[in-house]
Symmetry: C2
Subunit: 317 residues, 2 copies
């Protein structure tokens, strides 16, 4: 019916893993997981955010920019991986674009090793332990889905997942699925000093609340847009190299929701690959009875293009 569409049902693999202490050993583990997933029929493989390295944004250290120097070589490497296993592959890499100009970039590879498209993370976080504004320039490619042989993929990255705008724009541009490589977890309290605030913020109840909020907002994107959502998060505790903070315990819980927000897969906090059989046309059926796109009041949404609708800001256009 439509050239941009791939087969209706595909098997996707969400590879949730820990950092193994070096790029080499981490990639070796990733390749073992991809190999196993491909053997089990996966045709779309999604890796977590910045999957080649530790999550280095726990502190602001210029030395980490060296990681981005290998970007072009990384692109060649992962393209070859996609071809070797015959999968469409969603990677998350540290891109050096020019000296002093870096992006958090998802590169999507076709199964013949070619680059299907790239997405530069648009929303950049900055909060204790997640100092991404130091490392990453906000993306300038906008929210553009990436066409592949398995379908039109709405690839976003981590912090984007809190923004209904990003999800909606991808849907309005025809994305058949939303995909979020992610690195999120609980802040560990420093062991060598009492930190009452940290301990209060890390009760089991507070941790549960954060985890559930993170799941809830993305489940909402699935429902509001009638598209499946696939999110891959890392696991394992990683220490802050600077020793200032207590480290991050990445909470795993990668998941897949269908186009009505129905749970297709939900991970735990352990290294695992979630295999999901995904009907990329299911959203089309859902939208016929839940036709939310039909009734949008676009003439009344201008406020969405403002920073805050209090009349004090200059209009952006």
């Amino acid at each position: 019916m439509n050239a941009r569409k791939g087969p209706s049902t595909i098997r996707a693999a969400l590879i949730q893993q820990r950092y193994y202490g070096s790029k080499k050993s981490t990639i070796e583990a990733t390749l073992r997981h991809i190999d196993e997933a491909a053997r089990q029929g996966a045709r779309l493989v999604i890796l977590q955010e910045l999957h080649q390295s530790e999550y280095f944004c726990q502190c602001e250290d210029p030395a980490f920019f060296d990681y981005a120097a290998d970007f072009e070589a990384d692109v060649v490497f992962w393209g070859n991986v996609a071809a070797r296993y015959g999968v469409v592959l969603v990677t998350s890499l540290f891109e050096e674009r020019a000296p002093g100009l870096y992006h958090n970039t998802a590169v999507v590879f076709e199964r013949d090793s070619t680059v299907a498209g790239r997405y530069r993370k648009m929303h950049i976080p900055d909060d204790p332990g997640f100092y991404e504004k130091f490392y990453f320039t906000p993306g300038d490619l906008g929210f553009e889905p990436i066409d592949t042989s398995v379908g039109r993929l709405g690839v976003l990255v981590c912090w984007d997942q809190w923004y209904p705008e990003a999800a909606r724009i991808m849907a309005l541009k025809g994305a058949q699925v939303l995909i979020y490589p992610t690195a999120i977890g609980y802040l560990e309290c420093p062991k060598d000093r009492r930190d009452k605030l940290c301990e209060e913020e890390n009760t089991p109840q507070e941790r549960r609340k954060m985890l559930e909020a993170w799941i809830a907002v993305q489940r909402g994107h699935a429902v509001a847009n009638g598209v499946p959502v696939l999110t891959v998060n890392r696991i394992g505790t990683e220490w802050d190299p600077s020793g200032m903070l207590g480290g991050i315990r990445f909470w795993g819980h990668s998941f897949a929701f269908g186009p009505q927000g129905e749970t297709l897969a939900m991970g735990a906090e352990e290294e695992e690959t979630l295999l999901v059989d995904l009907d990329l046309d299911a959203g089309e059926t859902v939208r016929k009875i839940w036709p939310f796109l039909r009734d949008r009041r676009i003439e009344s949404y201008k406020c969405l293009l403002e920073r805050y609708c209090d009349g004090t800001g200059l209009k952006p256009f």
Copy 2:
């Protein structure tokens, strides 16, 4: 600190009820519930969508427009109710604006009986059993929060709840809470004829999926915007007056979520009043550590003002 803010913590009452067969007896039940809620300290009372009558949009019958003729009298009546019980009251009324021009209108009353503001439903549904486009002209007041003595209320109505845009705009205009009077339920299958499609769509699994999707998308609004969400739905089975359809079993499950999507109250499928102690400043605290509003990429959101971003539509502005 800020004149528009009311007390930080208020008790809200979400009155979930059935239709009693007539406007008079239905209102009598509503008043009993308000009286009880006020005695228990409620200072904000929220009624369900079109709470004075049956949900008449199950069929398209011009006779139902007569219900709207009493709009001005209804406004006086509910203003007096607000004053009698000393509560800020969110009502949902059928507004006749001119012959042939009607709105589904939420009117909010101050506790001195005055009208604090009104909201005319912006997104109008139309699907089997919910023929609202026949009755209601889409609102022309936009998404404007309503200032009251208990806080700035982001009042929306039912179908609006599926639209992240509406929730976001209310938040960007300073709403401290989102409020949705609602009428939603399962379509019952006609008893006198076999309808395979209807039965397939109404398995317990399908019903659960719909209910959970409805909850999920609104919970997402709470998280994405750092505001509580209060939703009041009706219960009870109401038959289609035309006999064409099998009727609607309204699913209740009124709820309250806090600004991180944490569950504050969740109703069942029975007549009940949910009392919720709501900290309207909690969202401010949450936003300091989850500062989603800080990082919006407003210069890249233009697609949100288009019907579909395929380049075929005229730009609205």
